[in-house]
Structure formats: structure tokens, C-alpha cells
């Protein structure tokens, strides 16, 4: 059957089970949009306010369910507006396919109207990208793009399609999905080496990250942690990989790790890194981090092993399979670990954390950020997606929210993209069939992409937007206080924004709250409203995220107050 390039694009979506797409039309994707129109009963297209919002939405869509996110933009400015969204997905390994239109092939390279070399621009921030110059190659290219986005370590792929290629026709073969590339086989000898180390460890510590979420290896992780009797710390990306009710879960480690997790990690004699990249934010000073400790590193990406830390044993493979192989081998050897001393120590640290960081403020006068998060949790379900922007509010959420179910924390970890949250929350809700979603944001980050509030209103997306309004770029200001002699250079916002009026102007509801009673009233309403709701929570500009390990520091430099 002869069909047009634009039709091949849509047919490939359909054959790959893509039902929801995010995007913004323009001159060079008119033909694709024409096909979207014709396929209106099979494809749900969400029109955002800005292509960046569409990219974040497609990313949030992928994070919330594991499905591949799809975003479409026109050539030139449409394509460049995707760049931050693509980089965000790349740094957090989310499966994303971005389709851009481009000018006619004959006009490429001539600085034509709205022409940019988007494949050149996105080369270092995509797993792979294409410019399709011949319609005969389009079908295979698109199928390959979906295959690459999902194979092994996931990530974004961009396909740039010149307008004439969308118009031209060729024989179509059904866009049959290609099988994913095979995963590396887990080496049994690596498993046995690791088992030896695990058996001899007195203070083992699991450090789990986004790779566990991506591989959906939560139950394999739980089994493994129980079997080896090890407490588990998490990178920010991994926080939803274990139920907070599991006593093994200590919470986030790293620069803003919670007290018990950070100290326990520093005292461990064996760290088992699972689906993490030992990033600088997570380890601090590498030399100190690796001193007096053995490290086992499990990851799907061979290049991660030894990239940031030198490890004793690296195991490359699917994380679920690897953890299961470890557990099976341990059980076959009748190994069952009980480490009462280590357990006592961890218990003590947990108690100390409670003592040190329990809130004491006057609840009528002030709302503490940590309390906002705790109160929020009384309204959310275990599987409610929680999105954030980047800053103090993000850290407070990461440190204090009781994550229970997998894929519930939607946050930009690797790139740290302010402005990510609203689009991502919209995408998360769409991918969960319109489920209520929460965005915890800052007054800085919210201003970056608040335009997407209009999108949430248009599509009646039930997102509860909690703005931690401290009047400042809090996280940067905290650094200025700590490391720059309190010279608060351009971190006080002085915005006159009235968030209630703003919400109303967009067609949403808004509340301003000053204390816990008002917050409760606002939550009561927000969690019973169909569309988006904005809650402007006034908090102290000097509230800090604590504890903190300064950049490049170690546990000895832990700042508690």
C-alpha cells in the first residue's frame, strides 16, 4: 500500500501502541498534523502552550508508567524549544521519541526560514537521532527510533523529517515494531564474586537509583535487601523504588540525604550500588566516599561501571535479573543473614534523625515546608504521582514524602531543570488515564513554565499545584548564605504575582494559605476538584534544607543547622 510520509508517522505511532502525544503545530509539521486530525479517534493529542512544556509532558508521561513518551514540534524555534526537555529526559534515561519537521530537503543548508540543524544540536543529548532524507527510509527509521528509545538504558531519540519527505509517498509495510536489542547476559562468575563479598560484609548498605525504577525491579530489590539484611539508601531518582513502610528503607542519600541514610552509608563496609551512577551530588568527595569500603555496582550500562567510582565488582545486566540471580545464589547456599549490631546502629541513627529534625515551630504562625509535605501525604494515595520543580521544595519533597509505589516520584534529577514540573505533572496524569497528580513547586520554578496551567485547564487535568512560596530562589540563596557570606545576589524575587488571581485568570481555582488550618481547608477543596488547583503556601524565606553535605565534602562536613 502506498501512503504518505506523514501517514507513516501516525501509522507507526499506532502500531507501537502510542495513544497519547504532546506537541505544537507549525508550517513544517502541517502534514503530520493533518494525519493527526484524520486519526482523531485513535490518537489523543495534547496541545501545550510551549514546546518545552510538551517535551516535559511526554517525559512525565514516560516516567509515570514506563510507556514511551512522544512529542512533536515544528522546525526551527519549535525544535529548539524541545532542547531542554530532551536533555532532561537524556540525563534521567527516560524513553522519549521526539518528532520534528524540517524545511524541504532542497532548502536544507541554505539558512531557510525556520531552519535549524536540530539533529546536530541534539546529538550530545539524545541516544540517537536521525534526519530522514528519503521517504523510503522513514518507516524503518521510526521503528528503529522506538526500538532504541526503549532498549537497554532508555533515553530520548529524535527524528527530524523534512516537509517533502512527509508529503512524498511510498510502499508501507505495517510499521511492525522491532524487537528490543538483547540485554547483556548476567555473568554467573560476577554473581559468585559478589556473593562472596556480600557474605563477608558486616555492614552492607544498598544504594539504589533510577535504574531500579526503569527496570521495574522493585520486588527483586525488596527480596534482596531482606535476604542480606541491609538498610537501603536511595538516590533521588530511586526514591519510589521501595515502600516507605519497609523498615529497610532509610531514604535519600547524597548532598541533601537524610541523616540516617547518609551516616549509615558512610559507616558501611560494603556498598551495593543498584542502578545508580554515583553522581557527584550523590557521593561528594570520591576519595572519602570510597575509603574503607568495598563497592559492588550493578547497572544495565557497562560504561557506568568504573565511570565515577572505582568498584570492586561490576555486574552488567538487567537489574531485576541480576538481583534475582544474587538472591537465588545466596538462597541456594542456604545463606540467611542477620546482623544485629548493624541493625541496632541503624535503628539508633533513625531515632537520632527523628530527634534532630522533628519540627518545633509554632503551628499557628508558620507553615513548615516539612509539614506541608506531611500534610499533603494525608491526602494522596500510595500511587499518586508527585512531580516537582527544582530547588528547596524538591529536596523537602524528596526527604519528607513517604513514597510507597513505584514511578510516583517525577522529578528532574540529572539535569535539575527548573520549569520541568508542571508539564511533567500533566503528562503523568494523562499517562495514568487522568489520575489526580500533585506538583510541588517553587515560586521561581513555577514562573518558568506556568503557562502550562492553561493546558491543564483546557484538558481538565486534576493537578494540585502546591507552590512553596518563600519569595526567593531558596536553594541558591541557601548556598549564598552558607558559602558566599550572605551576599544574596539576585535571589530575592520581589514578584507581585497574585497566585489566586493568576489561577482564576487561567480558569483554575487558587488559594493562598498562611497556616496549617488554611492549608487543610485548601487541600480539602483541591483534592475534590476536577481541574487544576493552585495553592500558594507562604513559607519562611530562611527555611533551610538540612542536613547538607557541602559540594565535594564528605560525611565529616555534614551541616546540621
Amino acid at each position: 500500500m502506498q501512503i504518505s510520509g506523514a501517514e507513516i508517522v501516525i501509522q507507526t505511532f499506532l502500531s507501537h501502541g502510542i495513544k497519547d502525544i504532546f506537541g505544537y503545530p507549525g508550517g513544517c509539521v502541517l502534514n503530520i498534523y493533518d494525519e493527526i486530525y484524520k486519526a482523531g479517534d485513535r490518537i489523543n493529542h495534547i496541545l501545550t502552550c510551549h514546546e518545552q512544556g510538551a517535551a516535559h509532558a511526554a517525559d512525565g508521561y514516560a516516567r509515570a508508567t514506563g510507556k514511551t513518551g512522544v512529542v512533536i514540534a515544528t522546525s526551527g524555534p519549535g525544535a529548539t524549544n524541545l532542547v531542554t526537555g530532551i536533555a532532561t529526559a537524556y540525563l534521567d534515561s527516560t524513553p522519549l521519541v521526539a518528532i520534528t519537521g524540517n524545511v524541504n530537503s532542497a532548502l536544507i543548508g541554505k539558512d531557510s526560514f525556520q531552519e535549524v540543524d536540530i539533529s546536530g544540536i541534539t546529538m550530545p543529548i539524545t541516544k540517537y537521532n536521525y534526519i530522514v532524507k528519503d521517504v523510503e527510509e522513514l518507516e524503518e527509521t521510526l521503528c528503529e527510533a522506538f526500538r532504541i528509545a526503549r532498549s537497554g538504558r532508555k533515553g530520548p531519540v529524535l527524528v527530524d523529517i523534512p516537509k517533502d519527505v512527509q508529503v512524498a509517498s511510498c510502499e508501507w509495510h505495517g510499521s511492525i515494531p522491532l524487537p528490543l536489542f538483547p540485554l547483556p547476559e548476567v555473568s554467573q562468575s560476577d554473581i559468585e564474586e559478589a556473593v562472596k563479598l556480600i557474605k563477608s560484609a558486616k555492614r552492607p548498605f544498598i544504594y539504589a537509583g533510577g535504574g531500579v525504577v526503569s527496570a521495574e525491579a522493585e520486588s527483586a530489590l525488596e527480596r534482596f535487601a531482606t535476604l542480606i539484611d541491609a538498610p537501603a539508601g536511595f538516590s533521588m531518582m530511586g526514591l519510589s523504588a521501595m515502600d516507605y513502610r519497609n523498615p529497610k528503607k532509610l531514604g535519600m542519600t547524597g548532598m541533601h540525604g537524610v541523616y540516617a541514610a547518609s551516616i549509615a552509608q558512610s559507616e558501611a563496609d560494603l556498598i551495593i550500588g543498584v542502578g545508580v551512577r554515583f553522581s557527584d551530588r550523590a557521593t561528594g568527595n570520591i576519595r572519602k566516599y570510597t575509603e574503607n569500603v568495598k563497592i559492588i555496582h550493578i547497572d544495565i550500562d557497562r560504561a557506568e561501571i568504573g565511570k565515577n567510582v572505582t568498584v570492586d565488582i561490576g555486574i552488567v545486566g538487567d537489574i531485576g535479573e541480576t538481583l534475582t540471580a544474587l538472591s537465588d545464589t545466596l538462597q541456594a547456599e542456604n545463606f540467611s543473614q542477620h546482623l544485629p549490631q548493624w541493625e541496632e546502629r541503624v535503628k539508633f541513627l533513625k531515632a537520632a534523625q527523628k530527634r534532630l529534625f522533628d519540627d518545633t515551630a509554632d503551628r499557628e504562625r508558620d507553615i513548615l515546608p516539612t509539614r506541608i509535605i506531611q500534610m499533603l501525604r494525608e491526602y494522596t494515595e500510595d500511587d499518586t504521582p508527585i512531580a516537582t520543580d527544582v530547588g528547596q521544595h524538591q529536596m523537602w519533597t524528596a526527604m519528607n514524602y513517604d513514597f510507597a509505589a513505584h514511578r510516583t516520584f517525577i522529578t528532574s534529577g540529572g539535569l535539575g531543570t527548573m520549569g520541568f514540573g508542571l508539564g511533567a505533572a500533566i503528562g503523568a496524569s494523562v499517562s495514568r488515564d487522568g489520575k489526580r497528580t500533585v506538583l510541588v513547586t517553587g515560586d521561581g520554578g513555577f514562573h518558568m513554565n506556568l503557562n502550562e496551567l492553561a493546558t491543564a485547564v483546557t484538558y481538565k487535568i486534576p493537578v494540585v499545584i502546591v507552590i512553596m512560596n518563600n519569595g526567593v530562589l531558596g536553594l541558591v540563596r541557601q548556598w549564598q548564605r552558607q558559602f558566599y557570606g550572605e551576599r544574596f545576589s539576585h535571589t530575592t524575587l520581589h514578584r507581585a504575582t497574585d497566585y489566586v488571581k493568576l489561577a482564576e485568570a487561567f480558569g483554575a481555582e487558587g488559594f493562598t494559605v498562611q497556616n496549617e488550618t488554611e492549608l487543610k481547608t485548601a487541600f480539602d477543596k483541591a483534592f475534590n476538584t476536577d481541574g487544576p488547583v493552585v495553592i500558594d503556601c507562604h513559607i519562611d524565606p530562611d527555611a533551610k534544607v538540612l542536613p547538607m553535605i557541602p559540594p565535594g565534602g564528605s560525611i565529616e562536613d555534614l551541616i546540621l543547622r
Binding site: M123, P124, I131, A303
Partner: protein, 80 residues
């Protein structure tokens, strides 16, 4: 760790931008390319071989190889 010079042979599919992917990987990750030559494989014109020299310690060498192997178009990356 000591820095040393080494030579790599990289076989890759001839596609739009593949050479750029290889060179941009080096600049993105902060590795050096000291010399580089590229020629199509005699037995199959759809593929090319890049011979390049670089320098770095053992970890850098290993990283370069693994990062190259990750590129979709690279079939083989060997230290020779």
C-alpha cells in the same frame, strides 16, 4: 594513574553524522583525539574503520572504549 598514548580501531556503520558522533563523544567527555583517520572497509562499503590515537590513564582508556561501544552505529571499538 599514569597517562599513556594508545591507538584505537573503531568499526562503524556509514551513516549521516557518524564521524561527528564519534568526535563529539570525545569533546563531550573531555577526552583528547591526537590523530584520526577514516576509510571505508574494503570488504563492505557500508562500514568504515576509524583509527585514532588518544591518551589517558587506564580508566580513561576503558571509559572511551565503553562509551564508543554504546554508540548505536559502532560495531566494534578496540584498543590496538
Amino acid at each position: 594513574m599514569e597517562s599513556e598514548n594508545f591507538t584505537m580501531s573503531v568499526v562503524l556503520r556509514n551513516r549521516y553524522g557518524t564521524l561527528m558522533r564519534v568526535t563529539s563523544l570525545f569533546s563531550k567527555r573531555g577526552y583528547n583525539i591526537n590523530t584520526l583517520s577514516v576509510a571505508p572497509l574494503a570488504e563492505n562499503n557500508d562500514y568504515s574503520r576509524i583509527i585514532l590515537t588518544s591518551n589517558g590513564d587506564k580508566c580513561v582508556k576503558e571509559q572511551i572504549q565503553r562509551q564508543l561501544e554504546k554508540l548505536v552505529d559502532v560495531c566494534e571499538a578496540k584498543i590496538i
